[in-house]
Assembly symmetry: C2
Amino acid sequence: MLYCRIPAESEANMQKITEITSRDNPAVRHYIRLRDRKKTRYAENLFVAEGLRIVLDALQYPCLVQQVFVTESAWEKYAESIQQAMQETGQCFRIPDAVGKNMTDTEHTQGVFAVCRIPEQKLQIDSRKKYLVLYQLQDPGNMGMILRTGDALGVHGILMAQCCDLYSPKVIRATMGSVFRVPVLELPDAPELLALLHQHQICSYASVPSAQALPLTECPLGTGSAVWIGNEGNGLPEDVIHSCRHAVTIPMKGGAESLNAAMAAGILMWEMMKS
Amino acid sequence: MLYCRIPAESEANMQKITEITSRDNPAVRHYIRLRDRKKTRYAENLFVAEGLRIVLDALQYPCLVQQVFVTESAWEKYAESIQQAMQETGQCFRIPDAVGKNMTDTEHTQGVFAVCRIPEQKLQIDSRKKYLVLYQLQDPGNMGMILRTGDALGVHGILMAQCCDLYSPKVIRATMGSVFRVPVLELPDAPELLALLHQHQICSYASVPSAQALPLTECPLGTGSAVWIGNEGNGLPEDVIHSCRHAVTIPMKGGAESLNAAMAAGILMWEMMKS
C-alpha cells in the first residue's frame, strides 16, 4: 500500500493505491472478463471503461466507479487529476505498463482503466419531452456516436430494444463519456416500447429511407415526439413502421441511397431538439 | 482465358476473364501495393476499392475502372451482375479464395476488388452553389462518412486541404461509393482554399464548438456558402477562423463538449442544403 498526498489538501484527500505486479492478479483477470464477456457484465452489473477522459467523466458519478487501474507511465502524467477526481471512492490500482497492454482494447492505450457499475435505468417518460428510439441497431460505433450526439443536442432520453450491447468496450469508447449522462431505457422488444410511448401520449415517428414518407422538412417533431431508428442494413421492420404514427424521411438529393444510421439519427435529433 | 456469356446478350457482352492462381501474380502484388502505399497511389493515379456494391458503383463510370478481381466463391454468387456491369471495360481476373484473403483489407471479405483510376478534379466553383470545406481532417472513417453524407444531401462539392488520404482503402470503404459521385477539389493549404472561394464570392463559415459563435439556428447558409470543418482534436486554427466571414456553431444543450467531426459536418450540410 502506498499513500499519496495531493498538494495542499487535507487528510480526506489521501488516496490509497494498491500496487499490482502480475497480469494474473484477480482484479486484472476480472477486468478482462468484464471487457470480453457480455454475460459477465450483466451477471455482475459492471462494465469497463478505458481512457483518461472517460474515466474522469465516470468519476464525476462516484457511486458508479468500483475500481480504477493506472499504469506506471500514466501515473506519472495523470496521478494528480485522477486522485483529485477519485475523492476516496473506489479502489485505485497501479499496474505495470505491460499489464496495461493486456487490459487495453485499443492500439495505443493511455493506461487508464475503470470498472464501473451499470447505472439503474431511471428514464421517466414525460409527455412533453422528446426521445430517440433505437431498434435492432447493431454497430457499436454507431451506437456510441448516437449517444454522444444525443447528449450534445440535449435529447431527453434514448429508448432501445434488441440492439448491440450498450456496455461493450467499443460502444463505451465511442460515447466519449455520454453513457454516464444520457438517460437510457432498454426494453425487450418493439411492442413494449410502443406501449410505453403510447401510454404517455408520445407520438412515434419511424425514420425510413423512402421518398413516400413525410419529408423531415415538413414534419414538426414537437414536444411529445419519439423518432425511431432501425438496423443499419435492414432499417425498421414493416410492422414497426406501421405501428408508428408517421413515417419520416430525410430527403435524398444526390446519388447515395441512404445515410449511415448514426448520421440519420443525428440529423433527426437536431431537427427535433433545435426548436 | 475463359469466355463467359451473359444470358440472351450479344457478342458485345462477352467478357474475357483471366485466371490467376498465385498470390505472387504481378497484378495481385500491384493491387496490394496500391492498397498499402499512398505514394504508389499518387505516382500511378490509381486506388483500390473492395466490396460488391462499391465495385458495381465504380463500374457505372467505366473509364474509372482498370481491373476487377473476383474470388471463385464470389464468382459463383455475383458473376452475372459483375459481367453485366463490366460491359467489356477493364480486365477481369478470377482468383482463388486464398488470394482474396491476401488482398482484403477487411475481416470478412466479399471477394470482389477493383483497381480504379483517381478521377480528374473537375470541381468548378459557382457563386450560387454550396460547398463543404475539410481542413486537416485526419480520421478516414469521418472522411468517408462525410463524403457519403454530402452525396446524400446533395452538396455541390467538397474542397479539402491537408486531410488524410481520400483514396486510402478505409476512406473509400466508408464512402459507400460516394467517392465516384461527389465533386472533390484538393488544394495544398488554407490560403489557396480561401482565395479560391473569395474569388468566386463564396461566403466562408468556420464551424467552431464555441458558444460565442453564431448559433446555426440563426445562421442562414444560403446560396454561395462554404462551411469549414477542422481537425477532430484541434478544430480549425485561429487564423483560418479569422479569415472566414463568420464563425458558426451547433448549440450544445447537454453534457457532451462537442460533436464528432463527421456528425457536425452532417448537421451543417443538412441545414445548408435543406432550403
